[in-house]
Symmetry: C2
Subunit: 521 residues, 2 copies
C-alpha cells in the first residue's frame, strides 16, 4: 500500500519556491476563469445560441491562447488534463446529482427504451464507426493499427451524459431528457465491457460463445453496479433514520450523505465495476429515501449544494477542455499535416453522425412498433432531437481518449497524439457548433410538439382515473382493453406493485417521503 501516496503528490515536496508559486498561480487563474464563466453565463442565460459549456470552452481557449502568447508559443498548459482527476473527482458529483434530481417516474417508465438505447444503440454505433473506420483505412487517410481503430469506435460511441445535461432541460422536454441522459448512464457500463473486450479479445474469430460471454459480463456488470448503488443508498437512509444526526448538527447529516455517495462510486471502482451506474442509482435511492429522513435545513442544503458542486465540476471540465485544446506539445508530437487532421476529424464526425442515426431511428421504430397507442410513440421530430442531442462529444470522450492513447505503449505515441488532436477537434466542433444549435433546434422542431403536449398535459391524470376505474371494476374490464392500453396498464400495475411493496416493507425501515424525524431523547 506504499504506492498509494498519489493523492498527496498533488502538490510536490519540491524545495524550490517557484513550483509552489506556480501552483498558486495556476489555481488563481483557474478560479478567476471559473468566476468569469459564471458571470458571463449569467449574462447570456437568455440567449438561445449560447450555453454554459460553450462559454467555458471558448473562455478556456482564450486563456490557452493568452498563455501561449505569454510563454512565447512554448506552452499553453496551465493545468494538464488528467483522465484520472476527471474520473475520480469531477465526474462522480455530476452523475450523482443527475440521479439525485432525476424525475424517477419518467425515468423508470422509459426504462426498457433506455436500456435498449444504452446497450444495443452503443453496440450498433460502435460497430459502424469501427467498420467504416477500417474501410476508410483503405483510402489511406487514417494510418492506424487495427486495435486503435476498434478503440476509436468504443470511444466515439460513448454518449457524453454531461453534455446532455447542458443542452436538454428536464422541465421542458422530460421524455427526451430521460431517454438521452439515461442512455448516457447505461452506456457507461456498455463502454467498460467494450473497452475490456477490445483489450483482450481477438476480433478475427468471434463466435456465438464469445458474444454470449460479453453479454454475460455486461449483465453481471450492470446488476452488481446497480446493487452497490442501491445498497449504499439504503444504508445511508437506514443510518440517518436510526441515528438521526440532525438532532445535534446539520453538518453531520449533510456530510455523511455526501461522503457515502462518493463512497459508493469508489467501491464500484474498487471492484472494477461501472462507478457511474452505481453513483447514479445511489443518487436515485438517496433522493427517494435518505433525503426525506433528514431535517428541513439539510434537505434544502443538500439539494442546492449537490447541484452547485455538480455545476462547478461541469464548468471546470469544459474550461479544462478548452484550455487543453491549444496544447502545443500534442500538436507537435503528431507528424500529420493540418489538412490530414481536418480530413480525419471530418470523417470521424461523419461517422459519429451516421453511427448515431443508424441506431436512433431503427431502435425507436422498434420501440414504437410495440407501443400501440399513438400518443406514447416517439415521433420523428423527437427522434431527430434524440439523434442530435446525443451527438455532442465532450469531456468524457476526451478523458477516454487520453486514457487510451497516452497510457498505451509509447511506441505508437505519434498515432496517439494524432488521435488525441482529432478527438479535441471533434469535441470542440461538436460542443460549440452542435451545442449552440441544439436549443434553437429543439424549439423549432418541437414547437408544434409542445403545443400538442400542452393539450395532452392532462393525459397522465386522465389515465390514472382510467386506471382507478379498472381497479374499481375489478376483472370485468376485458372488453375495454385494447393491447395499447394493456401496455400502459401493465406498466402502471408494476408501479402500483412497487408502491405497495415500498409502503409495506421499505418505508418502515428506510423512511422516505412523509417520514418525520423525531427526537427520541
Amino acid at each position: 500500500m506504499d504506492v498509494s501516496h498519489h493523492l498527496t503528490t498533488l502538490l510536490p515536496h519540491d524545495p524550490t519556491a517557484s513550483s509552489v508559486g506556480s501552483t498558486v498561480i495556476s489555481l488563481t487563474v483557474f478560479f478567476t476563469l471559473l468566476c468569469a464563466c459564471i458571470v458571463i453565463g449569467h449574462l447570456f442565460v437568455e440567449n438561445r445560441w449560447v450555453n454554459d459549456s460553450t462559454i467555458a470552452i471558448l473562455l478556456g481557449l482564450c486563456a490557452g491562447f493568452v498563455t501561449l502568447l505569454i510563454s512565447k508559443w512554448k506552452s499553453s498548459r496551465i493545468l494538464v488534463f488528467s483522465d484520472q482527476l476527471f474520473f475520480i473527482f469531477l465526474l462522480p458529483p455530476i452523475i450523482f446529482n443527475a440521479g439525485f434530481q432525476v424525475k424517477k417516474k419518467q425515468f423508470f417508465r422509459n426504462f426498457l427504451t433506455i436500456m435498449l438505447f444504452g446497450v444495443f444503440g452503443t453496440l450498433v454505433s460502435f460497430c459502424i464507426i469501427s467498420i467504416e473506420m477500417s474501410s476508410s483505412l483503405l483510402f489511406g487517410t487514417l494510418l492506424l493499427i487495427s486495435k486503435p481503430v476498434v478503440a476509436v469506435g468504443a470511444i466515439f460511441s460513448a454518449t457524453d451524459s454531461v453534455c446532455t445535461l447542458q443542452v436538454l432541460s428536464q422541465e421542458e422536454t422530460p421524455l427526451l431528457y430521460s431517454l438521452v441522459f439515461g442512455e448516457g448512464v447505461v452506456n457507461d457500463a456498455t463502454s467498460i465491457v467494450l473497452f475490456n473486450a477490445v483489450r483482450k479479445l481477438d476480433f478475427s474469430d468471434i463466435d456465438t460463445l464469445v458474444v454470449l460471454k460479453l453479454l454475460g459480463t455486461f449483465v453481471y456488470l450492470f446488476f452488481t453496479s446497480t446493487a452497490i448503488g442501491i445498497g449504499v443508498g439504503l444504508l445511508s437512509a437506514y443510518v440517518i433514520k436510526t441515528l438521526y444526526f440532525g438532532r445535534h448538527s446539520t453538518d453531520r447529516e449533510v456530510a455523511i450523505m455526501m461522503l457515502m455517495a462518493y463512497l459508493s462510486y469508489m467501491l464500484a471502482e474498487l471492484f472494477s465495476l461501472s462507478g457511474i451506474l452505481t453513483v447514479f442509482f445511489c443518487g436515485i435511492l438517496m433522493s427517494h429515501y435518505t433525503w426525506h429522513n433528514v431535517t428541513e435545513n439539510s434537505r434544502l442544503t443538500t439539494r442546492h449544494s449537490f447541484a452547485m458542486i455538480s455545476f462547478i465540476a461541469e464548468t471546470f471540465i469544459f474550461l479544462y477542455v478548452g484550455m487543453d485544446a491549444l496544447d502545443i506539445d500534442t500538436w507537435k508530437a503528431s507528424d500529420k499535416s493540418v489538412g490530414e487532421m481536418i480530413v480525419a476529424s471530418g470523417i470521424l464526425l461523419i461517422l459519429v453522425l451516421v453511427g448515431r442515426a443508424a441506431f436512433v431511428f431503427s431502435l425507436t421504430n422498434i420501440v414504437n412498433f410495440f407501443k400501440n397507442r399513438i400518443a406514447t410513440r416517439i415521433s420523428l421530430r423527437q427522434q431527430v432531437v434524440i439523434w442530435w442531442a446525443g451527438l455532442i462529444r465532450g469531456a468524457v470522450t476526451i478523458a477516454l481518449s487520453y486514457e487510451k492513447f497516452t497510457r498505451s505503449d509509447s511506441t505508437s505515441s505519434k498515432n496517439g497524439s494524432f488521435m488525441i488532436t482529432n478527438t479535441i477537434i471533434v469535441v470542440l466542433f461538436s460542443t460549440v457548433v452542435f451545442g449552440s444549435v441544439t436549443k434553437s433546434l429543439i424549439r423549432a422542431i418541437l414547437k408544434q410538439q409542445m403545443n400538442i403536449r400542452c393539450s395532452e398535459d392532462t393525459d397522465p391524470a386522465g389515465l390514472e382515473d382510467l386506471h382507478l376505474l379498472f381497479e374499481e371494476h375489478g376483472e370485468d374490464d376485458g372488453h375495454l382493453v385494447n393491447s395499447g392500453l394493456l401496455t400502459r396498464h401493465s406498466s402502471s400495475t408494476i408501479h402500483n406493485l412497487w408502491r405497495k411493496f415500498d409502503d409495506r416493507y421499505m418505508r418502515p425501515v428506510f423512511g422516505g417521503r412523509g417520514y418525520v424525524p423525531r427526537s427520541r431523547f
Copy 2:
C-alpha cells in the same frame, strides 16, 4: 508556467493498473474512516471527555496500526501528509467558515486584546521557547544546530486555530472563543514574519533598526492581507447585488460566493501574504454584506454547506494526523533512542506550557489594568482557560514542521525526522490529553463565572440604554462619566460611527442586512 501541472499529478499517468487501484483503495479507506468518524462523533456528542478531533486522531491511529500489521511492519502510510495539500485545500475552508460564522460584535469589541495576544503573545512565546531550547542544548539533550532551534520556537509558538474551534464553543464562552480564536488568526501573520525573519536574519546582531523593520513588515503584511480580504468580500457583495444571480439559479450564487472566497486566499498566497488573515476577513465581509444579498435558499445553503465543508476538512486533518503518526520511515530515519525522544518531547511540552503562561497572564493583566470597570476585566479563571485552550498544538503545527524540516537541506535530515517525530508526539499528547480535559476544565472552572454572567446577561442592553441616555442628553453628561464608563462609551461610539458610515455609504452600494433583492426584469 509549464511547471504548474502539479494539480493534476494528483493521480499519475502511470500505466500500471495497480497504482490506480491503490489510489482507489486509499480513497475508499479514507472515506470509510471519515464516515466512521462522523457516526462515532455523533454517538459521543454528549460525552464531555471526547471531542471530534480526539475521535478522528484515535481512529487514524488505529487505521495506521492495522495498515502496519497488514504490510508486516513496513509502512503505515495510506496517505502521506503533505503540508501543501493542507495549506492549499484544507485550511482555507476552515478559516473562511470561522470568519463567516464569527460573532462580529464580540470580535471587534476585543480587537485590541486579540491583536496584543496575536502579536506580542506570539513573540514572547517564541522568545521563551527559543532561548530555553538553546539553554537546554547545553545539557546535550537536543543536539541541533542553532537555526532549527529558532524555527522550533516559531513553530511551537503558533496557536492552532483549528483546535480552538473544536474545544471552545462560541455560544457558551463567546469572550474566550473570540480571544483565543482571534489570537490564532492574527498569529498567522506574526508566524509568517517570524518564519521569514528566521530564514534571513542573523540573530547574533539584532539592533533596534532590525526590530523596527520586522515590525514594519508585520504592519505591512497585516494591512495588505486584510485589505485583500475586505476587497474581495466587497467585490462579491457588489457583483451579486448588481447582477442578482438568484434570478436564474441559486447554484450560480452559491458557487460564486465559494469561488471568490477561495480566490481571496489564493490571491494573498500569490503575493506571499497571510492567506489565513485574508480569508478570515473575507468571511466576515461576506457574512456582513454578500450573505444578505442572495436569495433565501442560497442563504440557508451557504451557511450550512460552508459549515459542512469546514467540518469535513477538520475531520480529514485530524484523521490524517492520526494515520501519519505511526509512519515508520520517519521513526526509523531518526537515530535517537525512544528515551531521548520522550525527554525531548517532554521538554518541548513544558516549554509550550511555560511560554504560553508567560504571555497570557502578563498580557491579560496589562489589559485589565486599562479596564477600570471590574465586570469587563478578564478574571483569573478565564485567564487559566485562555492559557489552557491555546495550549493544544495540532495540524497547523505538524504542517509547519513538515514544511520546515522536510524541505530544508537534506544533510540535516536525521535531525529533521527527529524534530518531526517530536512534533507528532507533542501534537498527539496535547490533542488527546489536553483536548479531552478542556471541556470538563471549562465547566469546572467557569461554573461560577457562568452564573455571574447569567445574572449579567442584561448588561449589554442596559449599557445600550445608558448610551441612548448619553445621546439624548447631548454633551452635558460630563458629571456622569467615570473613566471606566468612558472606555465602554468610546468603544460604543466607534461602533456607532461605524454603523452610521455603514448605513450611509456602504449599504447602498454593497447591500447587507435588510437588503431585499428584486427582479429588475
